[in-house]
């Protein structure tokens, strides 16, 4: 049961927001991604507090285990190329910050204005078994579509990132030599 805003929620949300802020402000890209993984772990803890155990552990597996590592590899593969040390933010950073702050103000205003007295019901008692049977019965079509999407996207990512061979690669090398 979730009765009110507890100390655990405050600590985990503080960790989450602090990690996101550090990812936004740090200069070293690797440090940014490490702070991003702290944020993702904090979000997983928030999922656990919301009685969504499966989503929380899937978050840890997929985001911290795969996406963060993938981003670190991409940074290491593209390191030292074109990132000017002296200027880390784009030229329109002030306008961008104003837009982000305005969107947060709008969202926060809408949230505070609504839901005056919402309390959580009893714990849903969702088990992995019920999730699995729901995935295989009610949600079988979305599951298949996501499976096809993942296959196509990963094969496509490999093809996009693969070095070109043959005539196309040679012409690009020539263009680079000029």
């Amino acid at each position: 049961m979730i009765h009110g805003i507890g100390i655990v929620f405050l600590i985990t949300s503080a960790i989450t927001v602090a990690g996101a802020l550090a990812a936004a402000l740090l200069k070293n890209l690797i440090h940014c991604v490490l702070c991003l993984s702290i944020t993702l772990a904090g979000l997983a803890l928030l999922y656990l507090q919301l009685d969504a155990q499966f989503a929380g552990f899937a978050q840890i597996l997929v985001y911290i285990g795969a996406v963060a590592i993938l981003v670190v590899f991409a940074i290491l593969l593209t390191r030292g190329a074109g990132i000017a040390e002296y200027r880390n933010v784009s030229s329109s950073w002030l306008v961008s910050l104003v837009i982000a702050a305005a969107i947060f103000a709008l969202l926060a205003w809408a949230v505070i204005k609504s839901f005056p007295t919402t309390v959580a019901g009893a714990s849903p008692g969702t088990t992995v078994q019920s999730i699995g049977s729901a995935l295989m019965s009610t949600y079988v079509l979305p599951l298949e579509i996501v499976a096809v999407l993942l296959t196509v996207a990963l094969i496509g990512a490999v093809i996009v990132a693969m070095p070109e061979s043959g005539a196309a690669g040679k012409s690009i090398e020539k263009g680079g030599a000029q």
Binding site: I5, A23, Y63, V71, T78, A120, T138, G156
Partner: protein
Amino acid sequence: MTPLAGFLIVAALVFAIGLAIALTRRNAILVLVGIELMLNAANLNLIAFWRFSLHAANSLTGMMFAIFSIAVAAAEAAVGLGLVIAYHRHTKTTDLDAMTRMKG
């Protein structure tokens, strides 16, 4: 402030920070990181609304939304990073201000 409002405010903060990262940073990979943060904030909203709905005990809709969204976000990250690496191979830069042409 009710518990649901607390979760929604945290999600709004993470979304705003992700938007700020995506709009202000110059590195293309960090822009992808910002997009991931925004997707995660949306996931937190979905799960919070599912938990505080009246039908949480006998309906899995909100959590299924979040799980499928996690899968789609993983595919998006893979394709985005593949594009950035391919661009870097051609032009030796990941600086968004220097990315002025897409033709190889």
